[in-house]
């Protein structure tokens, strides 16, 4: 491998990804800059960024679960209904039975787990296709929502609203910023530096090639720059606002699930099942257990998303969760997952979801009507996937292919604990 490509890899690497995911990061940056200019600087104001995070965190949480479902080769159409069902159950329990709100959250997660176990049972142990099971679930739980809620809107208590509409408290000295958000930013910076340093150490120990120091430096500078900028924006909003609680829940989930899907045996099994279920089973992957887990996990996340939405809306209503499944699925595919399964990353799906969110937000700031917004979102979804399919089917130079080539990785790097992510690359070709 030439020094130059190696260097490019080192500069932009760090996560296992494919062309489309990096394409989407550029698209995301382009969209942000485009709207930043077009709206006269409104897009990157603290107020707007905070609003975007609290508006879309629940869709992004769904996208995490949906990514795992799609990687395993399934689909879940019931998430919106499950979210709505959980929302009304929790709201009713708190309003009519005076359940304290922390228990309400626990109840919601349990309801999600129970629904997930129900759907997982049919998918994994009976063998009904997930499309059918969750289509049934979509009707079942939408009906359940209306049955329990009497198609009425049920308000939720103030404490509960925190998970959807709450912010970090103002503590400590007056720095002109929200101190807790600043602390989070510092922690994030430290985490990034530590991770970079550890990766370098590991490679040194393994006597693997290490990138020149200045490359690490530049990469760190870019990442730290982004974190510092985001921290200042989120910490510098109106007094009483900060990084939204729902955003913190989202970040924690992204970190946990990224680690799980990338660095653990259970996570790699999901990719193996999605790439080739039979081969995976023959190599000792417990197929049923993996399928059961992804379906159940999705419903738990859907329940959480539903509660966050209810908290943000301050009430659970009969229209909650309508067509959320489509937003989540779109985010996952824009973020680089393959329709046939076995391919995709959590971070990619988040980027895909953010592309949709910022597109939506930017167009709304410009006063574009929802009719046009939907048309544009539809086209973006189609183009994002079509481009990828086209590039693969050509198997030769294409403009985007050439542009993306430097960012494609053909071998894992980063920490030594990463098991071989080659299934990604391997199945990509199969899927393509």
């Amino acid at each position: 491998m030439s020094r130059i490509t190696d260097l490019q890899k080192n500069l932009f690497g760090g996560t296992t990804s494919n062309a489309r995911q990096f394409g989407m990061i550029f698209t995301l940056v382009a969209i942000v800059l485009l709207f930043q200019i077009w709206t006269g600087g409104l897009t990157l104001t603290s107020g707007n960024l905070i609003a975007v995070v609290s508006q879309y965190s629940y869709i992004l949480i769904l996208a995490i679960g949906m990514l795992m479902v799609i990687v395993a080769g399934h689909i879940d159409l019931s998430v919106g209904s499950v979210a709505a069902f959980t929302g009304i159950v929790v709201a009713k329990a708190m309003q009519e039975h005076d359940l304290p709100w922390p228990l309400g959250i626990l109840l919601g997660l349990l309801v999600g787990a129970a629904i997930g176990a129900w759907q997982g049972f049919w998918v994994a142990y009976v063998g009904v296709p997930a499309f059918i099971v969750t289509l049934a679930g979509m009707l079942l739980f939408r009906g359940g929502n209306q049955y329990i809620g009497n198609a009425d809107t049920v308000p939720v208590p103030e404490g509960f609203r925190k998970i959807g509409a709450g912010f970090l408290p103002e503590v400590g000295p007056d720095t002109g910023y929200n101190n807790l958000t600043l602390l989070l930013g510092v922690a994030a910076c430290a985490g990034v530096v530590w991770r970079e340093w550890k990766a370098r150490r590991t490679r040194l120990e393994m006597k693997a090639d290490t990138a020149p120091l200045w490359i690490t430096g530049v990469r760190l500078a870019v990442m730290l720059g982004v974190i510092v900028f985001a921290t200042l924006r989120f910490a510098g909003g109106r007094i009483g606002t900060s990084l939204p609680i729902s955003g913190i829940i989202l970040i924690v989930l992204v970190l946990v699930y990224s680690h799980y899907t990338r660095n653990t045996i259970g996570g790699r099994h999901i990719y193996a099942v999605g790439g080739n279920a039979r081969a995976a089973e023959l190599s000792g992957v417990k197929l049923k257990r993996v399928n059961f887990f992804v379906m159940m996990n999705m419903s738990v996340l859907a329940a959480l998303a539903g509660m966050i939405f209810v908290a943000r809306s301050s009430a659970s209503g009969p229209q909650d969760g309508l067509s959320w499944e489509l937003d989540a699925i779109a985010a996952v595919f824009i973020g680089g997952a393959a329709v046939s399964g076995g391919l995709g990353t959590v971070s990619g799906s988040i980027v895909g979801g953010l592309v949709m969110a910022l597109l939506n937000n930017g167009l709304q700031l410009e006063g574009v009507g929802t009719d046009m917004v939907q048309i544009i979102k539809g086209l973006v979804l189609l183009l994002a996937v079509a481009l990828d399919v086209y590039n693969k089917s050509q198997g030769r130079f294409s403009i985007t292919g050439t542009l993306m080539r430097p960012f494609r990785r053909d071998e894992p790097s980063g920490t030594a604990t990463v098991p071989d992510p080659a299934p990604d690359a391997g199945t990509a070709k199969v899927a393509g």
């Binding site: 130059i4 260097l7 490019q8 500069l11 930043q36 709206t39 600087g41 990157l44 104001t45 603290s46 107020g47 707007n48 609003a51 508006q55 209306q146 009497n150 198609a151 009425d152 809107t153 308000p155 609203r161 959807g164 509409a165 002109g176 910023y177 530049v218 500078a221 870019v222 720059g225 982004v226 510092v228 900028f229 200042l232 924006r233 510098g236 909003g237 109106r238 007094i239 009483g240 943000r312 809306s313 301050s314 009430a315 209503g317 009969p318 229209q319 909650d320 309508l322 067509s323 937003d327 939506n360 937000n361 709304q364 700031l365 006063g367 009507g369 929802t370 009719d371 917004v373 939907q374």
Partner: protein, 368 residues
């Protein structure tokens, strides 16, 4: 070559971020609160108007009237409809965007009036005045004004029209009727229904009016989403269950025109004589139906007047004056009593249609 390219990209990227970070000043400041009364704002300020999805002619008309009316008054207008499928989430995002853009007044025709507390609070904290248009936003202290037609009066007029219509057709009771009410997530549904029941309940208690199916609770009569298909389904099942054989139906209380037409379709489909059916909104198809002698009545709530009054309210706010209010006790949203400006509705039957729609370019020709 590529190395230098990447180096340049990285350098430019870092520089851009730094510029952005420094260029954008800190937005941190205390909540502006509700001290917007009495100060006014610039004459060309942005006014946000968030309306539900385009499911009824009225909302589309209101949107156009707002765009034009606000522009004529010199304001910048941002009129948004919620999407057809994800209505609540869309509207929440739209209101947040209006706040970000610095709208001074936000007029909200809510899709679900109890799910906007967070956004309304955000608007309030940024110093915008919130006007609930047609539907009262509930469970929040942050609504400033409510403007609508007097909906209790609408219900009363509907109830009275139903009784009058049935008396005209069949002078002597007892009359058999069925009751329909609007979507349970719309506050107005209950107000219409209560208004109508204020007229009908004494007659039902006396036995002059009989509800054929016995369904008189608003939970039984509600039509989710104000959807025609749901109303038709309910009417179909009522006809099957309670009006078998020769039993006839004298009247149906319908809260609006869309549902009224669905009910008429259902009754005609079952081969029953057309009952007296009330309505509301003066939709084109229903005005035609009234002139053809099928639907009995509708309510004229002139959207033009309502929008004009709303724009007047915004003009008063702009000058820093108190807008005109004519009701300060009836509209409790669960947290506070919202000062309201109510316009009187007008009942329209075949007899007075020509007169009632004389000024309406679309409806006047239909009444001739």
């Amino acid at each position: 070559m590529r190395t230098s390219l990447i180096r340049t990209v990285a350098a430019v990227g870092a520089a851009a971020l730094l510029t952005l970070a420094t260029a954008c000043s800190n937005e941190r400041e205390g909540a502006a609160g509700s001290d917007s009364d009495g100060k006014g704002f610039a004459k060309d300020s942005l006014i946000g108007v968030a309306l539900p999805s385009k499911t009824s002619e009225n909302w589309v008309l209101a949107g156009d009237l707002f765009s034009n009316g606000l522009k004529d008054a010199g304001f910048k207008a941002d009129v948004q409809y919620a999407g057809a499928s994800t209505t609540v989430a869309d509207q929440q995002a739209q209101i947040s965007s209006m706040v970000t853009k610095g709208a001074k007044v936000i007029v909200i025709g809510a899709t679900d009036a109890s799910q906007l507390a967070t956004q309304v609070k955000q608007a309030k904290e940024e110093g915008a005045v919130v006007i609930a248009y047609d539907r009262l936003i509930t469970n929040t202290p942050d609504v400033d004004y409510y403007i609508a037609f007097d909906n209790f009066k609408v219900g009363q007029l509907q109830g009275q029209a139903l009784v009058d219509g049935m008396k005209a057709k069949k002078p002597k009771g007892p009359w058999t009727i069925e009751l329909f009410s609007g979507s349970p997530d719309d506050n107005n549904s209950k107000v219409f229904f209560d208004g109508a029941m204020q007229v009908l309940k004494p007659l039902i208690d006396k036995g002059d009016i009989v509800v054929g199916s016995g369904q008189t609770d608003i939970k039984q009569t509600a039509i989710q989403g104000w959807k025609a298909e749901n109303a038709q389904q309910r009417m179909d099942s009522l006809l099957t269950s309670a009006y078998g054989g020769k039993k006839t139906l004298d009247g149906v209380l319908s809260p609006n025109d869309t549902l009224a037409r669905a009910i008429l379709t259902s009754v005609k489909g079952a081969g029953k004589p057309v009952p007296v059916v009330t309505g509301q909104d003066s939709e084109v198809e229903s005005v035609k139906s009234i002139m053809a002698g099928e639907q009995y009545s509708t309510i004229n709530k002139d959207t033009r007047k309502l929008v004009a009054e709303t724009v007047n309210m915004i003009k008063a706010l702009q000058k820093g004056e108190k807008p005109a209010i004519n009701d300060t006790k009836s509209y409790n949203n669960g947290v506070k009593v919202v000062p309201a400006f109510l316009l009187p509705p007008v009942i329209v039957t075949k007899q007075n249609a020509a007169e009632a729609y004389a000024n309406d370019p679309k409806l006047a020709p239909l009444t001739k």
